[in-house]
Amino acid sequence: MEKNPYVPMPVNVDKIITEVTTKDIKTFRFSFVNKEDEESFAYLPGQFAELSLFGKGESPIGIASSPTDKGYVEFTVQKAGVVTSELHSLEEGTLMGIRGPLGNTWPLDYLEGKNVVVVGGGFAFTTLRSLTNYMLYEENRPRFGKITVVYGAREPGLLLYKDELALWEKRDDIDMHVTVDKGDADWKGREGFVPAVCKEVAPSSENAVALICGPPIMIRFTLPEFFNLGFSKENIYTSLEMRMKCGIGKCGRCNVGSKYVCKDGPVFSLAELDELTPEY
């Protein structure tokens, strides 16, 4: 029988990691209950899924793990509404559902052979983390040029994936710039806002693509820096968020102009966004 795209696949909550000192952002690691579901959940960085809690509803969340991570899939979720609050109260070993993968991906084919600049702010680093791990994977690494990462948070306790960032810092095939707006007594890293750090790092726009995710205020001040560096709108990508329900382009909720963020996005280039209405 044809697969019902609304029915979630059962997953086990294997691991819950509290990412930040404010405790309102957690990473959930799931494994599929059924082997065939794991196979059908073939995803690429940039895609999302509906996390499904029967009795509460569903929430569309970007996939934070990389397809090169086998046997599990991870989502980093901020506690905000009904579904995410319930998620945050779960314990390891709970059974729940996920539905996906949904949406398009970071422009992987286009990135091939190019230098890639990854810019993230605060919580908006989840699918960029997926992409970075994907590119750093041994078999994939030669497909991409220089990888530069600028990742910032308000304070050290709000940086996600700290252990992983430390591992990336040790590698010589990725240029890491982790920054915080304001450090604390233990912070030995860089201080400064993401736009300023981008200006200082000044990645070349030559054969390069920038992928930028973050709060609107960060994006607003970061984009001019990239335009100054010579990045065209065709070579700057971001990922949109919208209220969603079905995730498959039918319920009408995430309609922006002639596109649906759920099935035509969430990843768009700035040039593509210019073609849309500004209703996101």
Partner: protein
């Protein structure tokens, strides 16, 4: 294409007979209005009426339907059952505008990547009998402007035309053919009847005098998302959603969960882009913050976005939103005003 004749007085009986062993949806009189209903034993199907107040889309896409049931278990809730195996059905008495709406809804629900199983199973198992509008019933009818016709067979399996003493039945599809076989041995229509029908079709179309611009205004819509015209269109709109609920082509929906004790269900119900909550995000951000943006969305979706995606206007010209809007916002007039800009 098979054509048959059904004696005028026999039709209601044939439909009632059909309803004895088949699920039949038909227009029935309820006080001052006509509604599509599931035809029960004591109900009389109408064949002569204007149009039903509700569009028949709810038989494929119910106003509220259970998508799945779940049960709370020790380690979390588990899926229990997904409804399906819907019965074969006949949808009788659909006006050509409403029948065309199914062709438009199919674009959305029969998308090759994600077919909607609930809509599609009902759609595939239902035979649609349309009734041509020999005299288009309302001054608000404008199907001819939206690519339709009072005698259109788009979306129909059988088209019935009132020829005076008989109904002329045209089989449009195999499904329609099978249905007519079930109705018994019916005489074939001769060429004289068919020629007369062609003449009546021309006459019927000529009776619709309202002209509403459709694809003609698309170039303006492409360029004028921010035009001051949109500042006043919505004035008066109560955000009641009547237009979207009665619209045969509106398909936006919500998905919500309902649970009591250890059982629950996930439900899909109609939603409306006219409501502020439709796009409001958990953060409080709302991409369409006022009725102005929401009204523009409804119009743009029908006359631009749908055209971009499927090369068809998402309006069939049934006129329901015009007739039933409590503050008399008139989509025809908006399109006409745009054409003058």
């Amino acid at each position: 294409m098979e054509t048959r004749l059904i004696k005028k007085e026999l039709l209601p009986g044939l439909i009632k007979g059909l309803a004895e062993d088949t699920l039949v949806y038909a227009p029935v009189q309820e006080e001052d209005d006509v509604f599509f209903r599931v035809l029960e034993k004591d109900m009389e199907p109408l064949a002569e009426f204007g149009n039903a107040k509700n569009a028949p889309k709810n038989f494929f896409f119910p106003q509220a339907e259970t998508m799945m049931r779940f049960m709370k278990k020790e380690r979390g809730s588990e899926l229990e059952r997904v409804p399906g195996d819907f019965p074969e059905a006949v949808l009788f008495g659909v006006r050509p505008c409403d029948a065309r709406s199914f062709v438009l809804l199919d674009f959305v629900f029969d998308d090759p990547k994600y077919r909607d199983p609930y809509y599609m199973e009902r759609r595939e198992k239902t035979t649609i009998v349309s009734l041509a509008c020999v005299h288009p019933p309302y001054s608000t009818c404008f199907c001819t402007s939206m690519g339709g016709h009072p005698f259109s067979s788009d979306g129909a399996d059988v088209l019935l035309v009132d020829m005076g003493d008989d109904w002329l039945a045209e089989c449009i599809t195999d499904k329609g053919e099978k249905l007519l076989e079930k109705l018994g041995d019916l005489p074939k229509a001769d060429d004289e009847v068919l020629a007369r029908k062609e003449e009546m079709a021309k006459q019927a179309a000529a009776e619709i005098t309202t002209s509403v611009p459709g694809k003609e205004i698309k170039p303006w819509l492409d360029e004028n998302f921010d035009h001051p015209f949109w500042d006043s269109v919505h004035v008066g709109c109560l955000a009641c959603g009547t237009c979207t609920y009665l619209c045969p082509t509106c398909h936006c929906f919500d998905i919500t969960d309902e649970a009591k004790d250890s059982e629950g269900r996930r439900i899909r119900s109609w939603d409306s882009c006219m409501y502020w909550l439709f796009t409001r995000e958990t953060s409080g951000h709302n991409p369409r913050p006022s009725q102005k943006e929401r009204w523009r969305q409804r119009f743009m979706h029908k006359f631009k976005y749908f055209v971009d995606n499927y090369d068809a206007i998402a309006c069939v010209g049934c006129g329901r939103c015009v007739r039933y809007c409590p503050v008399n916002i008139d989509i025809r007039k908006i399109a006409q005003d745009i054409a003058k800009l």
